[in-house]
């Protein structure tokens, strides 16, 4: 058992297997009704999204009540929405009292076999739907085969999952597909997409083998699908307008110099390269933060929403969301509320360049600026710089003009002030000149008077000084005379003393010198006396001499030997003597 919800009187009523999700319900502010075992959740867009996601995640969806065909013995149930069909609905069958099915049902007391039942049902269907009928539903699980296109048509339950919808198989056989393609061209391809609500002309058939109803598509109404998409788009726009979100991104202030551009596009796409090339051609001076994302298919919603958030966090000045060619049907992703709310909540201006189409997507409608191509988006960014420059030029011109006027005004004011100052200065100068002349005259008078005073004082001082000098000179002269006399007296006395002393010294010198000479004379006489005593010449003259041998003076016969040669000095010569004999005398002892 899954979870289902239904919107009742501004309350979202959730029923089913809610026990595992009771905490989640409470967190949404829901209250549990024990009587009917449902949760009543306050209806807000946020709660609605959460409840939808929760129900989808467990295979549930929007709750739709069914009516049981109590009038029949079978338990076949038909959704009430089928009652909208122009063809007669199944419940109407019971009112037809003449129908063979009614007759057969009543005539078989024990019941039908399955084959009989299928046969009867096929007959009833054929009788009930003798011609093709227009059926409205949402395409699901579309598959392309060589034999044709297979898909399921489901009641369009907004926010509901496939499991929660009533579906019927549908087929466009190849032969019909060729006719339809010839008739509608590429429009057919754009319409036959999962999730698209279509109005088709179909034959209702029953496959008896599987007991399964099937629709054989004969034709299709493209205008219905387009209208449906437009209706959804208009509904979303109305909702956004009611919340004031349609102008939110448009009202943002575009930076004067968007130097950091966020780019949302498919990796390696032509749109990306065209955008970047165009920026490069114009010499874009800033940087581009690129965020790759799918721009077609189911991943578009998630990637674009995440990409917008990523670029917001990257602090870009402007976000460019662009895609190249491709199926126009893929533009429907940009009509989704997810992308629309993401753009509305984005604090950065968003420029959308997502296709060359006439219809405007919701994303384009509410974004800051819509451009047809990536190149045009780049041109828009460059134009922002140009507009800023033009604005700056205008401001510059305005400032220039204003400043020129101000300068002229200032110059005129200055000129006036200067004239006033010149006149005031001249007056001041005249006053000053008069004052100076008066001061000069007064000064001259005072100066002459003062000169006379000073002259008289100087003469008086000169006379006094002359007298004082004369007195001083006389006093000094007397002092000098006295000093000269005293000095002469003292000098004469000193000279006399020096002369007397000198005389004494001279006499002393004379006496000392004479005494010294006498002492020397006496000394010389003494030495001379000694020399006279020692002089051998007198006693040599008397015949005395001395004998000398090789060993020196001979004093004893012991010092000589017979035959030895001796020398004897005379006053006039030296004799050499040879000893022939030695005779010892008797007074030898006396001699010694």
């Amino acid at each position: 058992m899954s979870l289902y919800y239904v919107l009742e009187n501004e309350t979202i009523r959730v029923q089913g297997k809610t026990y595992p999700y009771r905490d989640k319900m409470r967190s949404l502010g829901a209250q549990y009704n024990a009587v009917d075992k449902t949760w009543s959740v306050p209806h807000t867009p946020q709660n609605m999204l959460i409840v939808e996601e929760l129900c989808k995640s467990v295979g549930g969806g929007v709750y739709k009540e069914t009516r049981t065909l109590t009038q029949t013995r079978t338990s076949v149930s038909v959704p009430t929405s089928l009652s909208n069909f122009k063809a007669p609905s199944l419940p109407e069958l019971k009112a037809d009292e003449n129908s063979p099915a009614r007759t057969d049902l009543e005539s078989v007391p024990d019941g039908f076999s399955i084959a009989e039942l299928m046969q009867k049902a096929q007959l009833a269907i054929t009788q009930s739907f003798p011609r093709s009928v227009w059926v409205i539903g949402e395409i699901q699980n579309i598959r392309h085969h060589r034999s044709g296109i297979y898909f399921q048509l489901a009641d369009s339950k907004e926010g509901g999952s496939q499991a929660a919808t009533v579906t019927v198989n549908a087929t466009i056989w190849q032969s019909n597909l060729r006719d339809l393609t010839r008739k509608f061209g590429d429009t057919l391809k754009d319409i036959l997409q999962d999730g698209f609500r279509v109005r088709v002309l179909a034959d209702l058939t029953l496959f008896k083998d599987r007991g399964q109803l099937s629709l054989q598509i004969q034709s299709i109404d493209p205008n219905f699908t387009k209208g449906s998409l437009a209706l959804q788009r208009e509904k979303l726009l109305k909702e956004l307008r009611a919340k004031g979100l349609d102008q939110k991104n448009k009202s943002l202030r575009l930076p004067a110099f968007p130097l950091c551009i966020g780019l949302l596009s498919a990796e390696d796409s032509r749109a990306k390269s065209d955008f970047l090339d165009q920026l490069q051609v114009y010499g874009f001076p800033g940087e581009v933060v690129f965020k790759a994302c799918q721009m077609q298919g189911e991943a578009t919603l998630r990637d674009v929403v995440n990409g917008l958030q990523f670029l917001q966090q990257a602090n870009v000045d402007l976000i460019v969301m662009t895609r190249g060619g491709g199926s126009a049907a893929d533009l429907r992703w940009f009509d989704s509320p997810e992308i629309a709310y993401a753009i509305a909540a984005c604090p950065v201006p968003v420029v959308a360049a997502i296709g060359h189409h006439e219809d405007v997507c919701v994303a384009e409608d509410i974004c800051f600026q819509r451009e047809k191509t990536p190149t045009a988006a780049a041109d828009f960014i460059i134009s922002v710089f140009q507009k800023t420059r033009e604005r700056l030029d205008q401001i510059s011109l305005y400032l220039d003009k204003t400043l020129t006027e101000r300068v002229k005004l200032f110059e005129a004011t200055m000129q006036g002030l200067m004239e006033k100052m010149r006149a005031a200065a001249q007056n001041q100068l005249s006053d000053q000149r008069r004052f100076i002349d008066q001061a000069e005259a007064s000064l001259e008078l005072n100066w002459q008077r003062r000169l006379l005073q000073w002259g008289s004082r100087l003469e008086h001082m000169q006379s006094g000084l002359s007298k004082g000098l004369d007195l001083r000179l006389e006093r000094e002269k007397a002092l000098l005379e006295r000093a000269g006399t005293a000095l002469q007296t003292r000098a004469l006395a000193l000279v006399e003393r020096r002369e007397s002393a000198l005389k004494d010294v001279r006499n002393e010198l004379k006496r000392g010198a004479a005494e010294a000479l006498r002492e020397h004379e006496a000394g010389l006489q003494k030495i001379e006396s000694i020399l006279r005593q020692k002089d051998p010449k007198p006693w040599m003259a008397q015949g005395w001499t001395q004998l000398f041998g090789d060993a020196g003076l001979i004093r004893s016969s012991d010092q000589v030997a017979t035959g030895e040669t001796l020398k004897a000095r005379l006053s006039d010569s030296v004799l050499k003597l040879e000893i022939t004999a030695i005779e010892v005398t008797q007074n030898q002892g006396a001699k010694e």
């Binding site: 002369e499 004379k510 004379e521 030495i527 020399l531 002089d535 003076l553």
Partner: protein, 69 residues
Amino acid sequence: MSQEAQTYQKMLEEVEGIVRSISSPELDLDRMVNQVERGYELIRLMRGRLDETKAKIDQLHQRYETKDS
């Protein structure tokens, strides 16, 4: 000390040395004779020097006496 005084002093020292040498009993006679002769010569020179000195002193004294008077 002046050159002359030195000379006089040297002569005095030499003659005193001669007196001491000739008092030695071992002195050779020839040497003694020579020494005595040298002693006399020195005495003669020294006495001449003393005479010259005396005359010079007298001369100086007389010069000063004349000047004072």
